[in-house]
């Protein structure tokens, strides 16, 4: 009987092995499936005219890009400036609005849905001429009424009965708008409450995307749906691509809009691609795997998805350096160790703050924190016109003088009466622990006994409002000097600012910025502000900005890499596939 059982057991083992083999074969078949993700897409016949013969080879193909998550907040750029929104929105709605930041120079203003614009003598009234021939994806002409609707919605919100849509609190241009008037289909007049000489620049910020067709949204608002979003009205935009299908959590497929208004420098109609499939890849490891096996042509932008040195090397090892293009883009988040000077602590003493500024080895911090993918900065990218010229060669930032700086730092600390160091609380957002810990290490070496407090966002926000910390890690994203307003002004003027002080002179810089009439004037003010904030008063020790690395395959051409800010140039109108 025992043998009988064992013999039957052997038969069961054979069946088991056979089943397992079949399962393995099924998986191998899956692995060798015919859906070759790298297969070249069929050439498109759309978009080519006789005058475009030379460029015809650029047309066609579907690119496969990654997006880190489904766009939040109804895909509405008015509700969220996150890269998660812009990554796909850019292709549907274009970047910017009536005007936009120039693709190759974020500080310059370029035409967009408006082809010309002008201000009156005192910059209190701006007139925009709407470009001819622009249509929404449903064929409806884009008019000045649409421009008015967009600015009004951002500035004043909307109210229907008890339902209230609140004005946009983050966009700087809305603060000055008094009223808008569409004098005819092609002319929009914007009256301001006061003179704003750089209104066009404030309006041009790329993430202020016009994704709001009046003819579709106004009826919704009138019906009480005041928070109507682009998603609610079918993603009808004026961008180079129109929505074909969207499967939440999976893929958004956008396809060429044949009536897109922009052309390339040779006059060829854009976009070149037939379409883009944006795959939602919520895990960076999954995204990297898909890129390395050819299922993706480009990786996603955004925190957590940008490449680390290890991941970048792994991709290059798999595909070869000549098969990929690494896109290096500034984050425009300027990390700073912000000090609270309102509390009665040693940090109230300027000498102590100067000592910390001199002591911190920023180059080492970039290496330790970001694996070298970063750049030492002050309040701005040192290569922009907003930054003090040569600031990076001065004590504190200059690696060559670090030994002398550190000696000076020790001396300053002793002069302030803290030769034996002191204790300080360092509040740090929990997610930023990897940024704060190396700083703690350096501060401890200076003799400061740091109590690192990793806190959640609610606690951090609450303690920021109450000025309840000694030091706070700040990582503000800033494209224009005016955007620093709520981030570094005095506590009375802006309770959410990270450096805590009661210095009216700082608030004065922002008032001056608002009334400055030229870029040169604003540049001079921003330089003066940087010198004052970061060097003279050291309200914060500005450290560095992270460099965002993302990768595209070698055959993806025409990507306009936004060196200054990774949230820009996301319309992909000029992208084409050379394969």
């Amino acid at each position: 009987m025992e043998n009988h059982i064992v013999n039957n057991g052997t038969r069961a083992l054979k069946i088991l092995i056979l089943s397992a083999s079949l399962l393995v074969m099924a998986f191998m078949l899956a692995a060798c499936s015919s859906d070759d993700p790298t297969a070249a897409p069929a050439a498109s016949s759309t978009g080519s005219t006789s005058s475009e013969v030379v460029e015809e080879s650029k047309y066609g193909g579907i690119a496969n890009f990654s997006a880190r998550t489904d766009p939040p907040r109804g895909w509405d750029p008015m509700s969220s400036g996150s890269i998660s929104v812009l990554m796909i929105d850019g292709s549907l709605f274009g970047m910017g609005n009536l005007v936009r930041q120039c693709p190759d120079d974020g500080t310059a203003v370029c035409d967009n849905l408006s082809d010309t614009w002008s201000a009156n003598a005192d910059s209190t009234q701006w007139t925009f001429h709407i470009r001819d021939g622009v249509t929404w994806h449903d064929g409806t002409p884009f008019t000045a009424e649409d421009g008015k609707f967009f600015i009004d919605l951002a500035t004043f919100g909307a109210t229907t009965g008890d339902n209230v849509r609140r004005p946009n609190g983050a966009w700087k241009f809305v603060r000055s708008v008094e009223k808008t008037t569409a004098t005819d289909a092609s002319t929009l007049v914007v009256d301001l409450k006061y003179s704003v000489p750089d209104f066009d620049q404030l309006l041009s910020v790329d993430n202020q995307v016009l994704a709001h067709p009046k003819h579709l949204m106004q009826p919704e608002i009138d019906a009480g749906n005041v928070n109507v979003s682009p998603k609610d009205v079918g993603w009808i935009g004026t961008g180079p691509f129109m929505m074909e299908s969207y499967t939440p959590g999976s893929v958004a497929k956008v396809r060429r809009y044949d009536s897109y208004y922009r052309s390339d420098e040779e006059g060829n109609r854009l976009p070149y691609l037939d379409g883009i499939d944006f795959y939602i890849t919520p895990d960076p490891a999954g995204m990297d795997a898909a890129f390395r096996t050819g299922r993706l042509d480009a990786t996603a932008r955004g925190s957590g998805f940008q490449l680390t040195p290890e991941r970048e090397n792994a991709i290059i090892d798999t595909l070869g350096a000549d098969k990929v293009q690494i896109m290096k883009m500034a984050q425009s988040s300027f990390w700073a160790l912000a000090f609270n000077t309102l509390r009665d602590t040693p940090l109230k003493d300027l000498k102590v703050r100067q000592a910390i500024h001199l002591w911190l080895d920023r180059q080492e911090l970039v290496e330790v924190t970001f694996g070298g993918f970063g750049k030492v900065t002050g309040m701005y990218d040192p290569d922009t016109e907003w930054a003090v010229t040569g600031l990076m060669d001065t004590p504190g930032w200059n690696a060559a003088t670090k030994a002398a700086d550190r000696t000076a730092a020790k001396a300053l600390l002793a002069e302030a009466g803290y030769a034996d160091g002191f204790e300080a609380e360092f509040m740090c957002r929990r997610q930023w622990g990897f940024v704060c810990e190396p700083i703690v290490g350096q501060l401890e070496a200076l003799g400061i006994s740091v109590k690192l407090e990793l806190v959640d966002d609610a606690t951090r926000a609450s303690r920021t409002l109450d000025a309840a910390y000694d030091m706070n890690m700040a990582g503000p994203t800033v494209a224009l000097p005016a955007q620093y307003g709520s981030l570094v002004a005095s506590h009375a003027d802006s309770p959410t600012a990270d450096p805590k002080h009661a210095d009216a002179k700082v608030d004065g810089f922002f008032r001056s910025l608002e009334s400055a009439s030229t870029v040169a004037e604003r540049s001079a003010i921003s330089k003066e502000m940087e010198q004052y904030m970061a060097v003279d008063m050291v309200y914060a020790a500005w450290l560095y900005t992270e460099e965002a690395h993302s990768v595209v395959r070698d055959y993806v051409k025409g990507v306009q890499v936004p060196a200054d800010n990774y949230r820009r140039n996301l319309d992909f109108a000029t992208v084409w596939l050379d394969k």
């Binding site: 899956a30 400036g81 609190g169 898909a290 390395r292 920021t464």
Partner: protein, 322 residues
């Protein structure tokens, strides 16, 4: 029996209410104000500053200015009337749409896992018992222990790495339902299902093995063998039904671990189920989604346990509830 079932069904509801109070309460006693958390996160991630008015407005929008019992009542009512908690803060999507879209995906994945586990684990457990303390038994037990001890996310990452570096292949992107494109669906779902099944079947294998060993030593099995019954009949008809009774209980309890495992694996493999939704919602401070999805999972767990308890009394005639 009917009385027992009725009592279990009646007990189901207080348990559900208690769970809802806990879920609701935990989200409220977490440190910090939800409105501050949302605005603070946006501010920290580049959204600029915010004002007291914005805090007040957001609290108003989220209903956080209402007393807690009112907030709880509104939430429970919306769960009952089919709105499932209203609207997502993060996506503005109605929660009934989110749950309707995500829940079937997760349940599908769980079903694949359970079927795969049972198909693999029960024969393995039986086989292991038949070959007790021989090399096939050791191999199967080691395999089971590995399945129990290695974290799912780690296996998933190793598997991805293996596929990319050795096979040069990765699962397709873009989840599709099985009725839309069965082949693509299988290529995407099979990997997390296999990983989850490994862990799940590890438990089932070990319990089946223990059960079989115990049953094979029983007098009635010896009697069955002595009667001259074939081994297949002895195992299938006399041993397995009794040996597998604990598997039902254990399987039910392990489903909770299984659903927990989907949270990470759905994210890694890009499967838009409840797990991925929970991760997105939790990182985005989308508390209506978190509490409603958590409540749905609790509901399914309780319902499953109820069914198991009821099924147990049918499967094991010795069990009598009074």
């Amino acid at each position: 029996m009917q009385k027992y079932i009725a009592r279990r069904v009646i007990l189901f509801f207080p348990t559900l209410i208690l769970a809802s109070v806990l879920i609701f309460g935990i989200l409220r006693i977490l440190p910090g104000d939800v409105a501050l958390a949302i605005l603070g996160q946006e501010s920290a991630e580049g959204g600029g500053g915010f004002t007291e008015a914005q805090i007040h407005n957001l609290r108003e929008d989220l209903g956080l200015n209402d007393p807690l019992p009112v907030q709880y009542g509104k939430w429970v009512w919306s769960m009952l009337n089919g709105e499932f908690g209203g609207t997502s803060i993060r996506t503005n999507e109605d929660l009934d749409d989110i749950i309707g879209r995500r829940l079937p995906v997760t349940l599908q994945l769980a079903l694949y896992t359970i079927v795969l586990s049972m198909v693999i684990a029960i024969p393995m457990g039986v086989f292991s018992a038949l070959y007790q303390d021989k090399w096939p038994d050791y191999v199967l037990r080691i395999t089971a222990i590995l399945g129990q001890s290695m974290p799912n996310f780690w296996i998933a990452l190793l598997l991805l790495l293996f596929m990319v570096t050795i096979v040069g292949w990765s699962p397709p992107l873009g989840y599709v339902n099985i009725w839309v494109d069965p082949w693509q669906h299988i290529q995407i779902v099979i990997w997390p299902a296999l990983i989850l099944a490994w862990r799940f079947s590890a438990y089932v294998t070990r319990v089946t093995r223990s059960g079989m060993l115990e049953v094979l030593a029983q007098d009635y099995v010896r009697t069955a063998k002595a009667k001259g019954l074939s081994q297949r009949l002895v195992i299938q008809r006399h041993s397995m039904p009794n040996a597998l009774i604990p598997v039902i209980t254990l399987g039910g309890l392990e489903v909770s671990t299984l659903l927990g495992g989907t949270v990470i694996l759905e994210n890694i493999f890009g499967i838009p189920g409840v797990g991925q939704g929970l991760v997105e919602a939790a990182t985005g401070r989308d508390f209506p989604v978190v509490q409603s999805l958590a409540m749905m999972l609790v509901f399914f767990m309780l319902a499953l346990n109820l069914l198991i308890d009821i099924a147990y009394s049918y499967v094991d005639p010795r069990v009598r509830y009074s």
